[in-house]
Each structure stands twice: as structure tokens, then as C-alpha cells.
């Protein structure tokens, strides 16, 4: 063991013979260089401790409103320094304060810990190396090519290296405490976002390793804490060992949310009156703090718009007036998940946009469908998009009827066919189409429809141009050429998506992803009678 330690202390590259095939293992651990901007590598305790000043228990409890039972439970499970800690799993929905709670707890406890988020460390190697780097207090720097302290790709390597590093840290801690002794030492490892591992390659292997780490290492001074947004059952099947102690973080209640949002407000009374308006309706939609915070941020700005002085305390009358003002924005913002504010240098354009937005909100998107297409698209791409929309929307069997060469007579034909039985059948079919969503189609069908609708419109266009007296040169500019180029353009713009190949002939199939409103907008811009061709029951 001591041998191992000196090795790591001398920071000689410990090459793994089989796995290190590339020359990259040369980027081996070196002593962190003392670059001027980097503060000198801090002494052990501060490096693994929380960086900010420790807090008292009262501060801890008041910092996290609504999480007091969880904090106390976690503190109980972690226990005093001289007793081993069983692994703990904190679980609960997104944005319920799991990570902040555990970090604040360690700030209060002021004990050394290591933190690794499986989101930032998105593959096993980075996860392993990140944990080892922290334990070895390795600092990346330019001189070493920003490399990790150890190259570690396999789980078995990780276990060995982790054991070495942990023992070293514990030894140092003991030495530092020196004579005091008796109290014992603990090092904690926190794995955040553990649920993400499930989507990795060989996920079961890694999960199994992480959850059994306590049993494998058999170091009582190691405390393991897992944070996950999925429930503990998700991991039972994978571990095969005793499950960790689970602490559930439930959704915040209305009171908790009020407490959270009231922290650090400049004008608590004003904000409280604002919260009394918005919190209730919004909490019915979501109780995620981050979502609410985003929504409230812009709404509060709206709320304050009529006010000249942000520091004044609102009385009842003013509250009512402010409520009337915010009311129309409220419903719109409830339906809006993602609002992109316009940024433009000219003030006038800004104002114009604001007024437009207001009117849109009142009519809830009514104006939207009337708006013009606000980006450039060549005419042939528009026709292709429309034909793709039709191909996705209409059943293939009706193509012949809809795109009859006689054009107008198609509707009559369909009427003649419909007996009572066929009407029922059609009802059924329409329902099916609705449930299935846009259908897929082969390239050939798309091109056939494209040809039909362009040939019709080209005739019209030619007549028009002949009237204008410049038909000669325009007539030859057909829309048909470069169709495949346009197709790839539409695919790139996500208007079409390629969806699997047909099981029978293996040819590529497409699907249009645009909605009817957009298709109508496009059709209007080229004067194409789209509604004539849409199959409705």
C-alpha cells in the first residue's frame, strides 16, 4: 500500500499496459504548475471542503424553505464523524432542491466531499477521472495539456485507483488532525444526476458499480450519496445489493414556493402582491421552481410597467389596478412555454412589436394565421412543401381522384361514390388518419403530386405572363428541375423528415411535419387553392 502511495506521490505515470493503446496516456499526472492566475493549490481540507464560509444550522434551515424535514433526515443519515454512513439516495422531481440541499448540508457540516455530476461527466471515463482528480487534488493546467491526473477507462481500474486515492486522503486527514484523534474521519462522494447513466452504453454495469461501491471498497470512512430524479425502484434491479437509504424530496407546496420566491426581494410587499396574483394559477400548471422563475421574471416586469416608483408599497386600490393590467398577459403566459423577445436597435420597431404582441395575446394566436410568411422560400420549394403536405395528409388511394386531369370534376366524382356504408367507412378512416398523424410517403408519390399541382399552376402562370407580354422567356423556366435539391432543403429545414424505409421495397419514405395553418400560409403566398385538395372525410 505504502508503495502505491509513494508512486502516486511521485506522480509517476501509472500506465495500464493493455488499455492504454494510444499515446495519449503520455498526458500523465504532473504536479500542478503554479501559474500566476491560479492560486497555489490549497491545503487539503479547504480543497475538499465547501469553498464558502460554513453556516449554522439555523442558517441552513432558513436558506432552504420547505426542505427542513429532508435536511434533518439527511443529517441523521450522515451521522457523526466517527460512525460509518450507509449510502444515501436523494430522489425527487426536477428542481426540488436536491443538489442545493446536499451542498448546503456539507457547507454546514464542513466535511470533505467530492462531487460529480453525471451530466457534465457524460461518459464513464470522464466520471471516473473527475472523481479521481478531485481526490488527488489535481488541477488541470496548460502545461500538462489540461489532462486528468489518471487515465481511467475501465471500472476495475477505477476501483483500484479510487481505493488508493481514498486511503491517501484519509491518511492525510488523520495526520492533519494529529493528536486529537478519536473523532474519526469521513470522505463523502456525491454522484448527481444518476438517472442519466441509464442512457449510457453499458449502463447497467456502471450503475451496478456505483451502487455497490460501498460494498466493494469496504472502507467505512467513505460516505456515498446519490442524487437522482427517478425513484429508487429504477435502480433495484441493477444493483443486487442492499439499496441505499432513500430520502424523498417531494414537490414544493404553495407555501414553500411563496417562501422561495420571497427570498431576496427588493420590495417584498410589491412582490408579495404580485405572487398572490400569479402563484396560484401557475402552480396548477407546474410546481418546478425553475419554470416558475422564468415565467415570473418577465411577468413581474410587465406587472411593474405601470409603476413609476418601484419602491412604493401598493395599497388595495393599486393592487386591483395592477391586477387588471396583468390579467390579459397572465393567460397568454400560462400557455406560452418559450417566449423569444425581439431585440432591435430602433426603438420604434420595438414599440410596434410590443403592441402587436399585445393584440396577439388578446386574440390568442388569431392574428398569427393571417400573418404572412416571414422568410424567403423559392416558389418551387413552396410547391414541393405543399405536395409533401398533401401526400402526408391525404390517403394514397384518393390521389387519383383528387389529382384528376379534369381537376374540378373530382369533387363530383367523390360525391357519387358515397353511399351510407362508404360514409361510415370514410368516417372511420378519417378518425384513423387523425390518430395516426401525418402519414409517410415514398419519393415517387411526392413527385407525382408535385407534377400535378405545378402543371396546373404553370398553366395559370403562363397565361398571366402572356397577358403581361413577357411570356416567352418565362415559360421555359420550369419548376420541375432541381426538385431533389429542393427536397434536401426542406429536409434541412425540418419541414420534411425522413422516416425509416419501407419494409417491402426498402425505399426511403418521407413525412411532412408542418401543420395545416402553415401549409395554408404557404399556399396563400403562391395563390394555390390548397383547400381544394385536402381530403376531409
Amino acid at each position: 500500500m505504502a508503495n502505491e502511495e509513494t508512486k502516486t506521490l511521485d506522480s509517476t505515470p501509472r500506465r495500464t499496459t493493455r488499455s492504454s493503446s494510444s499515446s495519449l496516456s503520455l498526458s500523465s499526472p504532473q504536479k500542478p504548475s503554479l501559474n500566476p492566475p491560479n492560486p497555489p493549490p490549497p491545503s487539503l481540507p479547504t480543497d475538499l471542503l465547501f469553498s464558502a464560509q460554513p453556516i449554522t444550522l439555523d442558517q441552513l434551515l432558513s436558506n432552504l424553505p420547505g426542505r427542513n424535514p429532508q435536511i434533518l433526515e439527511v443529517l441523521r443519515l450522515i451521522g457523526p464523524l466517527n460512525s460509518p454512513t450507509q449510502p444515501i439516495l436523494l430522489y425527487g422531481g426536477v428542481s426540488t432542491g436536491k443538489t442545493s440541499t446536499i451542498l448546503q448540508v456539507f457547507r454546514y457540516l464542513n466535511r470533505p466531499f467530492v462531487y460529480a455530476s453525471c451530466r457534465s461527466c457524460y461518459n464513464p471515463r470522464i466520471l471516473f477521472e473527475s472523481v479521481l482528480n478531485q481526490l488527488l487534488r489535481h488541477r488541470r493546467s496548460r502545461s500538462s495539456g489540461f489532462a486528468s491526473s489518471k487515465r481511467c477507462e475501465r471500472a476495475s481500474e477505477f476501483v483500484d485507483l479510487l481505493r488508493d486515492a481514498l486511503l491517501r486522503v484519509l491518511n492525510e486527514l488523520k495526520e492533519r488532525r494529529g493528536g486529537k484523534g478519536g473523532n474519526g474521519e469521513m470522505v463523502y462522494v456525491i454522484f448527481d444526476n444518476v438517472e442519466l447513466i441509464r442512457s449510457w452504453d453499458k449502463s447497467s454495469l456502471i450503475l451496478c458499480l456505483l451502487f455497490r461501491l460501498f460494498d466493494i471498497l469496504k472502507i467505512p470512512e467513505l460516505g456515498l450519496i446519490y442524487i437522482s430524479s427517478s425513484t429508487p425502484d429504477a435502480y433495484y434491479s441493477m444493483t443486487g445489493s442492499i439499496g441505499p437509504n432513500a430520502v424523498h424530496f417531494p414537490e414544493y407546496t404553495l407555501n414553500d414556493l411563496h417562501g422561495i420566491f420571497m427570498r431576496n426581494q427588493e420590495n417584498p410587499k410589491l412582490y408579495s402582491s404580485f405572487l398572490s396574483v400569479v402563484l396560484k394559477p401557475f402552480s396548477r400548471v407546474t410546481k418546478r421552481v425553475d419554470e416558475l422563475a422564468t415565467a415570473f421574471e418577465s411577468l413581474f416586469r410587465k406587472y411593474c410597467e405601470p409603476l413609476t416608483d418601484l419602491k412604493l408599497f401598493p395599497d388595495e386600490r393599486m393592487k386591483r389596478r395592477l391586477f387588471d393590467y396583468i390579467q390579459p398577459h397572465l393567460t397568454a403566459s400560462l400557455n406560452e412555454t418559450f417566449d423569444v423577445p425581439v431585440r432591435s436597435s430602433s426603438e420604434s420597431a420595438k414599440d410596434g412589436d410590443y403592441t402587436k404582441k399585445g393584440s396577439i395575446r388578446k386574440t390568442v394566436g388569431g392574428n398569427d394565421s393571417l400573418a404572412e410568411l416571414d422568410f424567403h422560400m423559392s416558389v418551387s420549394a413552396k410547391y414541393l412543401l405543399l405536395s409533401a403536405f398533401l401526400a402526408s395528409r391525404n390517403p394514397a388511394t384518393l390521389d387519383a381522384a383528387l389529382f384528376d386531369s379534369t381537376g374540378g370534376s373530382s369533387s363530383r366524382k367523390r360525391k357519387r361514390k358515397s353511399s351510407q356504408a362508404s360514409i361510415d367507412q370514410n368516417d372511420h378512416k378519417a378518425e384513423e388518419i387523425l390518430i395516426k398523424g401525418p402519414g409517410t410517403f415514398p419519393l415517387e408519390r411526392l413527385l407525382a403530386i408535385f407534377q400535378c399541382i405545378t402543371s396546373l399552376s404553370e398553366e395559370a402562370l403562363e397565361e398571366e405572363q402572356l397577358q403581361e407580354g413577357k411570356g416567352i422567356e418565362n415559360a421555359t423556366v420550369g419548376l420541375m428541375s432541381d426538385v431533389l435539391l429542393q427536397l434536401s432543403t426542406l429536409c434541412n429545414a425540418n419541414f420534411l423528415c425522413k422516416s425509416g424505409s419501407c419494409p417491402l421495397d426498402g425505399s426511403r419514405r418521407y413525412r411532412s411535419t408542418i401543420d395545416e395553418d402553415f401549409a395554408l400560409k404557404v399556399a396563400r403566398s403562391i395563390n394555390f387553392p390548397l383547400s381544394k385538395y385536402i381530403y376531409r372525410r
Binding site: 451530466r119 461518459n123 489540461f146 412555454t337 424567403h376 422560400m377 423559392s378 403581361e468 420541375m480
Partner: protein, 719 residues
Amino acid sequence: MATSPTASDPPSSPIAASDTADNNLQPFFVLHKALPGKSEKRASGSGRTRRKIDLSASSPKSAEKSDQIPPDDSDAICEKLRLEAFERTWSKIDSTIKEVLRQINLNLFNEVLQWIQELFSIIKSSRTTSLSEIQRPYPLLTDALCRRVPAAFVFTKNVEFVDDLLTFQDLGVHLKSNRCHVASLSGLDFLAKHGIGGCVRSLLRQLVSDASDVADFAVLASWYCEQENYNNPIIIIIDDMQRCNGGVLGEFITLLSEWVIKIPIFIIMGVATTVDAPRKLLSSNALQHLQPCKLTLGSPAERMNALVEAILVKPCSGFSISHKVAVFLRNYFLRHDGTITSFISALKLACSKHFSLEPLSCLCLGTFDENRRDEFDAFPGPILRTAFDLPSCKREKISQGSGTSITQGLSQLRKLQRSWSSVVMCLFETGKRSKMQLLDIFCEASDPNLQISSMTRGIPITGKLGSGKAGFIAQAIHRVRELPIALLPHVLKMWSLHMKDMNEVIDKVKELQSNIASGDGGQLYKEKWTDIHKRPVYLGARKGTVSVNDKAAMLLDDMVRKYLTPIECAPFHEIICFGHVEILQSALIGDTRRIIQVDLLKPQNHLRCSCCNGDENIVSPTMHDTSIMYYLSQEYGDVINLHDWYQIFKVTISTPSSKSRKRLHNSPASKKLKTTPTENEAEIQSRFCRAVTELQITGLLRMPSKRRPDFVQRVAFGL
């Protein structure tokens, strides 16, 4: 060439053109015309003018080669001059284009920079994170309830993305010069196949030059803490957001959000279509982590206006295009491609063709640049004399003279063009407000028939089109009448800027301006009116008083009448004006598949060979292999059995030509028909393969799939 170059004759002789046609495999021709040398065949059969034949078959190089056939000194000199002239002209146009686009983009760039600086200063003032804190692996505890990455969506307003790739590249350079760290990612970095590792690796590779290959985001944090990198924002430019895989991009954004408190990261994303695009692409969880902001790039129409103004209307180089070419380019832009890139490449093609086809085109620069006049003297006389054979000269009955008369003619041309472009700009200035495009006005104003009609009829131009819609010029003039009085001074100011070379117009504009300044409602007295306009027609129409708007409209009308003479109406215009629209058309658009199919089925129409001149429905072995193959494939449905097809093909081509048979392939018995192999089996097979490949290239066939290796599939029936 010097022997008898009449103007209607093409500069290259047909023989030379046909010789070079086979080597002349431009990319366009490969795709659209799979048959080698087909362009030549097609053209000879199409019964169009001879001019087109040679032009479509000759590339610039081949044309130059063919020019050299008559060994003449003057020819060589001329050739060299033209090449030089082309290079100079195009470099001038090219630099103008770049400058125009740069100016347009500069607005956006500055706005982006301002956005970054504003947010960055907020971040710097609110967060005081020490270097050691940044490198901590755990998230910093702040009061912020949610961590959001500032993201600017740049709406490019064009479905096609080609134009904007360069814009984003320039944006990166611009930001870099303003002390930002810039990393540009593209759709290829966000593939589902590589997952999040791909984009993080690409990001690190661009920023951290000496990083190891482990794409750990913590590396970026350490890198940021280096002294030279600290305290500058990191900008991530994703040029085409819509081509990214939504899942990977979303994951990347959530990853960034974990670090955004510690490192100032900004994302700039290009969106081609609508605001809905990011909403559709990304999950709500990822959107939650964005602090969005919308920026808009100049629309393609705006860019087009600026380009047309700089290149075509105000000729920067002396090169210009004819009405037909302008109309073609406009249609191509609106209906086919819609990218500035292809517009520019079309223009370049036109330019190169002009200089390679027009023997006198080297005078182009001389027309433009006064200092180059002496180049005329260096010019060989015989060539110069051919200028008088140009159709425009013949029409105007300008007799053969000395070099000086050409010089005069050209300077006249230049003057004409200058006044013409001034008027066009004035028209655009008024039409701009009703969203008129400069290219439309340009097309109409360059129509040679416009001048004739307005001259001969003598009625106001507003009535020119009679039955149809009013033209753009008429609309613009009409627009002046409706212009609010508050806007009129501005428009007049712009007019005076555009017309600064023409004193008489300037005077009138000034008078109008002073009228507006002094007069209250814009009512004018009759006397003043008669001073300016000596035409009694208008006097009769107006009763006593005329509003300033009407007066301005009449002034514009007057300008149009006097100065809007299309360049094609002037003698010698062929020297500077490119008019061969067919060349552009065949190069840019090509044939539709339908035409290819028809041609394949009836090769006799083009070949006019003696061997298969008879009935068109007969497959004869002397036909081209691809044609035979296509003909035979007509008998099948969606799929063609390769073996059968090959057998029939073999039978067909190995039958002596005298026994041309009718439709042998539709009887199954034909397969069993034993013909003695006159040709080597291998050769037949290779011919077969070649024909199949050609059909595939033309897009008429799909090669056998793994699932059904014996069958090829027919595509694009009747298309």
C-alpha cells in the same frame, strides 16, 4: 474569326465547337445530360437559331480554343485583352459584392456584440466568482433560481442556408476581434451517432488548442482560468440550428447550463425559418435553460436590392446584362434557388461568357474608366471595325468610321447608362415604401420595348400596359401621388442625391423642395407650374392648382420619359451588355427529367442518323445503348428483372441492323432465342453496365437493393 465575323454569327465556328463538345463535361451537363455529346445533338435538332447551338456547346475554354483556329496576331492580342478585361471586371464586381454584403451584415454584427457586452457586464457585476471557485466541480450556490444560458436566435429568413454560412463565419471573426472566444459548431457536430461527446469535443478542440482528447467540460473551466483567457466571454455559434439533432442539442444546452454560472457562455444560433423552429426541435427542458433573444438578419430581398444597386444599376465595372438575362435571373432567384450565392455565380457565368464570346468585350473597361481610353489605340483596327457590324449599329445605320466614332459611341453609351441608372434609383426610392423590389424595377426598366411604347404612343406611362396590371414603374409614379407630405422631402432629397449629375433635374427638385418648405398645404400657382413644365397636355389636365405630390409625380414621369432609355436601345450596347439568356438557362436550370426521357425514347430526332431513320417505334441495334435500355425498360412495371433485361439487351444489340424487329422483348420466347454471340460477352456486359449507370445518373433508375439484388427499380415515371 477575323475573316468574317458578322454580328449574327457566333464567334466560334461550329466545327470547333462540336469537336470540343465531348471534352466539355461541366458539372451541370453531367447531371442533366447524361449522354456524352448530347448537348450538341439536342441543339441541332431543336431547330432554334444557330447562335444557340454553338453557345450551349462551348465552354469558355473551348471557345477560346476555337478562337485560335485562324492564326492571326490580332486575334491573339484580342484574346489576351479579353481575358485580362474579364479578370479585372470580375475582381471589381467581386470586391463590390463583398463590400455590400459586409455592410449589410455589419449592422447585425454590432447588435450581437452589443447584446453580448450588455449581458456580460451584468454577469460581471452580479457574480464575483473567484478562480478557485470556477474550478470546483460542484455547482455554485447562488440565489438564481434557474440557470439559463443566454442565447441569441439569429433569423436568417431564408430556407436555403448557403448564403448564411459565410455570414456566421464573418460574425465569428468579428467577435474574435472584439476580445471574445469564439467556437463555431455546425449541424454535423450534433449528430445522434456521436451524442453529446461530439459537440463537446469539437468545442474544446476549437478553444483549447493543446487539450487532450478527453472531451471533459471541466477542461474548459480550467482553460478559462488561464490568465489570457479569463474575463472574456465564450461565444458558441451554431450556424444551422435546424440541422442539429434536437436531443443532442438539448443535452448540450443543459450541460452548458450547469457551467453558465461559472463561465460566461453565450450561444448564437442561426434559425432559417420561424420562431417555432427551436420550440419544435428542443425539449421544453432544454428550452427552460435558454435565455432567448431574437435578432434578424437582412432578408434575402434586402440583400438582393443592395446587390442589384451596387452591381447592375450603378455599374461598378462597365459590365451589364440585358433585359432577358435580368428577367431570367429574377425568375431563377424567386422560383428556383432563392440564394444570393447562386445569383452571384450566375452573374459570374454571364460575365465570363460575355468576355469569351464577344470579341469587342475588352472595350468594356474602357467604357467604364475614362483613363483607359488610350487602350483603343492599341487595338487592332480590323477588330475595331467589326463593331459597326453589331446589330445595334446596323439598326441605327451608323456607318463604318474610325476609332474615334467608337469612342464617342461608347461614351454616349456610358452617359446614357448613368442617367438611366439614376432614374431607376429614383423609382426605387419611391417604390421602396410599398415593398417594391429593385430587381423588378430593373427588369422593367431595362426592357427595350418599354422605351419604344412610351415614345411612340405619347400617352402617360401609367396606361402603358392597358389591360393587364400596372407595371412597377407606373406603380412607383403613382405612389408619389399618394405619398404623405411629411415623407416627400425625404424622397426628394434622395432624388437629388441620385440625380446629382443632371443639373436640370436638380433644379426642378430644388424648386419642389423650396415649395414644400415655404408653401403650407403644397398648393402651387399655375404660373410656377407653367414655368417648369412647358407641356400643355398637363396644363389642360390640371385645373389651376396642383399639389406638390402631383408635381413630383410629373417630374418623375418626365424623368422616366427623358432619361429612362434602356441600354439595349443604344448602339454598341453589345460590347458591354450580355444578352445570351440561353447559355445561362442551359447551365443553371438544365432539362427536366421529362425531356431527358423523351429524348431517350426518340433519339432519332436528335441524331438524324441514316441507320434508324424509319419508324420511330423500332429498337435498332445501332441506337445508343442507354436509349435501347430505356426503351426496353418501358415494358416493365416498377421493378425490372436485371437478368431479363440483360438478355433482351444482348439480343437486341447482337441482331444485325438490317433485321430490325418490332417489339421483340415483350414475348417471353425472346429470352430463349439463341443468337450466336457476335460480340464478346464481356463487352456486352460492360456496355450494359455503363448504360444502367447512365440511367441511374439521370435519376431514372434506382440500383438493386440488398433485399432484392436481382431487380432495379424505376423512378420518376413520366416526370
